[in-house]
């Protein structure tokens, strides 16, 4: 049997490739197309795949083969497209996936908290006891600025300034957390550094302000948003450490495979931490500096701490699966085999 020459092949099949190309260049996801168009698309796709294999096998010219490669490849991407985004997925992430992922990787969460809060508390205590320690960490100018900032009580700022600070907190703090996470890819050393560094600096500032006699002011200011902000930074750092650790303890996978296996959890955790930081930025800008009475701020801080703890511990837990065959309403034990 004489097979087609390339000319004949192209002449016979080109109309279908063009039709497929037209659907592809319309740029619409498949589910937006009318039903008839979808089934036509899948027929055209299969046709193009067969043509690609034929062209490659017979040895038609490379320009034709790569043209078909391109058309069939893009059709494949359209056919196996990711499911469309739903708003519900964002809620699912916050309400269930984030606390679940944190619990699954609890030891890195704990490690992040430890590496961040222990140096912070240690530096606070050291600076209160030996105020000159602060000058080993920060310059006198910076320390003076911090002490001045909290020397007066909080009378509330004007609204514009509040918005200004919200922008600054988002830019600065979420950026810190993201870097704290991302640098964990360097075998965890980046996250380790940022956790310790931020812990030491924050602890020193806190201790210095307390030693200067403005402890009540700074703690009242920090308590509410700090619950979210500091925890989120520790979470981000912990996720970074998890990423670094996956490169070391691969659990029998290749290094890349081990990293990849953590990918989903890591993405969920860091996105959850980002949400926490946005909440923190809002509080830090509008609530913490407001003239609300300190006892109310302390109460709010306590409430948020409890809520966060409950959320981390219980949100997204599945009800325990009951033993099969004893489901209520199934009418007794279920027996295997076909139903009538």
């Amino acid at each position: 049997m004489r097979s087609w020459t390339q000319e004949e092949f192209v002449a016979r099949r080109q109309a279908e490739w063009t039709a497929l190309n037209d659907i592809l260049s319309s740029g619409k996801p498949l589910y937006r197309l009318p039903a008839a168009e979808i089934s036509r698309f899948s027929a055209l796709y299969r046709g193009a795949c067969a043509d690609l294999v034929h062209a490659r096998d017979v040895g038609f010219t490379p320009d034709l083969v790569s043209y078909l490669d391109g058309v069939a490849g893009r059709a494949h991407n359209l056919l196996y497209a990711a499911p469309p985004y739903r708003l519900g997925a964002a809620w699912d992430l916050v309400a269930r996936e984030f606390p679940r992922a944190l619990r699954r990787n609890g030891r890195f969460f704990a490690l992040g908290m430890f590496l961040f809060f222990v140096p912070m508390i240690a530096c606070t205590i050291v600076t209160v006891l030996y105020p000159e320690f602060a000058f080993q960490v920060l310059s006198p100018d910076q320390l003076q600025g911090m002490a001045d900032m909290y020397s007066e009580g909080l009378q509330g700022r004007d609204e514009g300034e509040d918005t200004g600070m919200a922008g600054f907190y988002v830019y600065n703090n979420v950026g810190i957390a993201f870097r704290c996470f991302a640098t964990g890819i360097l075998l965890g050393f980046g996250s380790l550094f940022f956790l310790l560094f931020n812990g030491i600096v924050m602890g020193t500032v806190l201790g210095h302000v307390i030693a200067a006699g403005h402890g009540y002011n700074i703690l009242t200011f920090v308590c509410t948003h700090g619950t979210f902000e500091l925890t989120a930074i520790a979470i981000a750092g912990g996720a970074g450490l998890q990423m670094g650790y996956a490169l070391v303890d691969t659990g029998g996978r290749t290094r890349l495979g081990s990293l990849r296996a953590q990918g989903r959890d890591l993405a969920i955790i860091i996105l959850g931490a980002a949400v926490m930081l946005f909440i923190a930025a809002g509080l830090e800008a509008f609530w913490s500096p407001s003239s609300v009475a300190p006892p109310i701020k302390w109460a709010a801080a306590g409430l948020f701490t409890v809520l966060l703890t409950v959320y981390f511990a219980f949100a997204g837990r599945q009800p325990k699966a009951r033993p099969a065959g004893l489901r209520a309403g199934s009418g007794g034990l279920e027996v295997g085999g076909p139903r009538p």
Binding site: G59, A82, G160, T163, V170, V174, G263, L266
Partner: protein, 262 residues
Amino acid sequence: MSRSSRSSEARGGAHRAPPLDTVTEIETPEHIRFRYQLAGPARRMMAYLIDLIIRVVVVFFLILILSLSSLLVSDGFSIGATLLIVFAIEWGYYVLWESLWSGRTPGKRSMNLRVLKEGGYPTGFLDIALRNLLRAADFLPFAYSIGLAVMGLDARFRRLGDMVAGTIVVVEDLRRIGHGLQIQPPPSAAELAALPARPNLSATDLEALDLFLRRVGTLNPAREQELADIIAPVYARRLGVRYDHSARFLALIYLRAVGRTA
């Protein structure tokens, strides 16, 4: 390309070895293998620069507008809004474009690039968030040094973010079927009569000839002649014919083999 054809030649051409160069093969559930051309650092850098320019221009104009509006609202407000926008553009630009435009940004689109999962599937939101958050690590210590170094060491040109998220960046071939090779002046009857009706050339032969003939006219004439003189005798011997002009002879057997002179 040339490396891959040489390696398959070495194995007798019966079984195509996986290409060794910037092409990656992806097998679908239908057992079809697609070839994607991987995007190298140069092309990705161009796309990055285009995106960077877009971001800088957008931020510049927003700051301009906000600083004008600060006559109306307080300074604090406009500074805050500016910082929020800078944050959103710094961290959100790529995530937004790549997730809403199936793996492309304006810069990637203009360079014909697309982000895909390693299996050839489109990327999901979490993959995109992960690969773009890790830009902070790829960027270190400055100007994407780590990212470039890692990309250079990886066979698939992945930076750290791609490795964690399991993504690759490919070049999309949007080309149309060309007119095919033309030969000037058109082959004469005498020339065609001297050649076998269907020269027996393998796919690898055709690929090599195609790559050469496509470059005719863009190469230095002396170099063109030199290359043609190396290849032509091989085919002349195999087909048992003689030739006068080596480059023209190669074009003739190519056109004959793909049935364009029939």
